[in-house]
């Protein structure tokens, strides 16, 4: 900039020297620089020459060291200790549970050792996500999206299915959710067209879920995406009429659900009926719900559940298939008593609440949507896992973040948590200006069947 004077530069540098967080330097410099410029111009109008005006304008600003110190105090990284501590507590609980499980169980001997190996990897994933500048994801989200999509689809080609499905689809869900949120940000203030593009990206993420196939992942993905889109629209992300935007999201979704239902309806209804009346098919669909029911009905405050009837005298591990994976929460209640279950459940619920509070505090739009999506992904896992484990919904394959056994899910959840806390950490230290170019904005409107492009609309 031609008017950039050496004194001005010196002044701004002195201010910035006091501000330890480098990422806000640019913002502060721009703002103060604009101010000095305005002040200078006003002095010139009063009849001073350029140099005197500049010096006077700088003098008018005050002590640069003091300004810098005050700025530094407002722009500090923040730590969400409660979430951090709760996560640590959950990991320790997981350690205890895995240790006890390894001790009691057959064919489960090395689970605790594997746990000890994957925990440090998870912590590294957490640290990386925590210290990385998440704002970069905004620009890269589309590329990351396509790479993840391609890798997932390719991985299906080169691996064989387990139990008729591919596990990676579930991990795919965990990764793709925050990436989709990043993609949504790319279409910010793009109007209805932006929403349609977001829909296309969602459909792209839909493909692996169908290919694998994993309906659990598909459901969670759909529900999470709907929640994220609804919040984004309510926050006025896309511009345009909120009601029309919502219709634009929900109408195709509803249509898709209906089509799904028509093609798989029979199967769905059957599962639903069996879920309501598990006694109809005790060795098929009703098997798990019945087992969960009998395990939980005899649960004690502390200690082993009392098994009755056909399960009397059998071990809990034998009675509960998937005790070390999909039904760990049921297992904990049955094996150690429901007080343990309540404690873990309470920690998880407080964790969810704290996560949402940290998200609401976000001022930056991208930070908000990214941390919100990470929060939704973790919350969805927890809720579906607990509900399925308590027999309140028909059993689905999800993992319980941090607690249930599995290296991939542990590492991914730690990464998501790192991302969430990274956003919180940067609440006050990233530039959070919304850029508004009043005259360049184009908004598409659809009135009486006509497609109108409105150039005059204000933000």
């Amino acid at each position: 900039m031609p008017w950039k004077n050496k004194y001005v530069k010196e002044f701004l540098e002195t201010v910035c020297r006091e501000v330890r967080t480098k990422s806000v330097h640019k913002d502060i410099t721009e703002e103060l620089e604009a101010h000095i410029e305005d002040q200078k111009n006003s002095y010139i109008k009063e009849g001073l020459d350029e140099e005197t005006a500049t010096t006077k304008a700088i003098k008018q600003m005050g002590d640069p060291v003091l300004i810098g110190k005050q700025m530094d105090m407002t722009h500090r990284p923040k730590t969400e200790w409660s979430i951090l501590i709760m996560t640590a507590v959950l990991v320790i609980i997981a350690g205890v549970v895995q240790y006890l499980m390894t001790k009691t169980a057959l064919g489960n001997n090395d689970n605790f050792i594997r746990f000890l190996i994957y925990v440090p990897i998870g912590i590294i994933a957490f640290i990386i996500m925590y210290f990385i500048d998440y704002t970069r994801l905004e620009r890269w989200s589309k590329y990351v999206y396509f790479s993840v999509l391609i890798i997932t689809i390719a991985s299906v080609k080169f691996t064989s299915p387990v139990n008729g499905g591919y596990n990676q689809v579930y991990y795919f869900y965990l990764i793709i959710t925050p990436i989709l949120a990043g993609v949504i940000c790319n279409f910010r203030s793009k109007g209805y067209l932006g929403i349609i593009y977001c829909g296309l990206f969602y459909i792209g993420a839909y493909v692996p879920c169908i290919l694998m196939p994993s309906y659990s992942a598909l459901y969670i993905l759909t529900i999470s995406s709907l929640i994220i889109m609804t919040v984004a629209i309510e926050k006025g992300f896309f511009g345009g009429n909120k009601k029309i935007s919502l219709v634009l999201v929900y109408f195709p979704t509803l249509l898709m659900i209906i089509i799904q239902f028509l093609s798989f309806g029979q199967y769905r209804i059957q599962r639903f009926v069996h879920f309501l009346k598990p006694g109809l098919d005790p060795s098929g669909y009703g098997y798990m719900p019945l087992r969960i029911k009998s395990l939980l009905s005899g649960a004690q405050p502390v200690g082993r559940t009392i098994l009755a009837r056909d399960l009397a005298g059998k071990s809990i591990e034998w009675s509960l298939p998937g005790w070390n994976t999909d039904f760990t929460f049921t297992y904990i209640i049955a094996k150690f008593g429901y007080i343990f279950g309540i404690v873990i459940g309470a920690i998880l619920i407080i964790l969810i609440i704290r996560m949402f509070i940290s998200v609401i505090k976000q001022k930056n739009a991208f930070g908000f949507i990214i941390s919100f999506s990470a929060c939704i992904a973790i919350t969805a896992e927890i809720l579906f896992y607990i509900l399925s484990n308590l027999g309140l919904i028909s059993p689905i394959t999800v993992t319980l973040p941090f607690i249930s056994f599995g290296a991939s899910s542990f590492i991914l959840n730690m990464g998501l948590m790192g991302l969430l806390l990274s956003v919180y950490r940067r609440t006050d230290i990233i530039s959070n200006k919304l850029k508004i170019n009043v005259h360049k904005k184009q908004i598409f409107t659809f009135i009486n069947g006509k497609f109108i492009i409105d150039f005059k609309r204000k933000a």
Binding site: E30, L66, K433, K435
Partner: protein
């Protein structure tokens, strides 16, 4: 509080605020820019105000500040406090005058 008052009427950028304050108070209040900006950033963190960037007439992007709902609420509270305070002071002064006149 004065900053909130200024932003309550319209969105402004920093320099504009100082100018506006000077004209409104007939040069009684002059706020140093060095005091203003840290204050603005703190208010922003307390979510009383929010910032956005807009191109001004001179085509240079400027950081405008906009008062939030919370900020408006805070302003009303502060205003009431201030009014209560001044009315008491006026009463005391008024009472004094009355006593003096007698």
């Amino acid at each position: 509080m004065l900053i909130l008052r200024l932003l309550n009427s319209s969105d402004m950028y920093g320099y504009q605020m100082i100018e506006e304050l000077e004209t409104r108070s007939e040069n009684v209040f002059t706020l140093k820019a060095g005091t203003l900006y840290p204050l603005l950033h703190t208010l922003e963190q307390q979510r009383m105000i929010e910032a956005y960037e807009k191109l001004s007439e001179s085509e240079r992007p400027r950081k405008y500040y906009h008062i939030t709902k919370e900020g408006k609420k805070q302003f009303q509270e502060k205003k009431q406090e201030w009014e209560a305070y001044t009315s008491i002071v006026n009463k005391v002064l008024g009472g004094w005058d009355y006593a003096m006149e007698k």
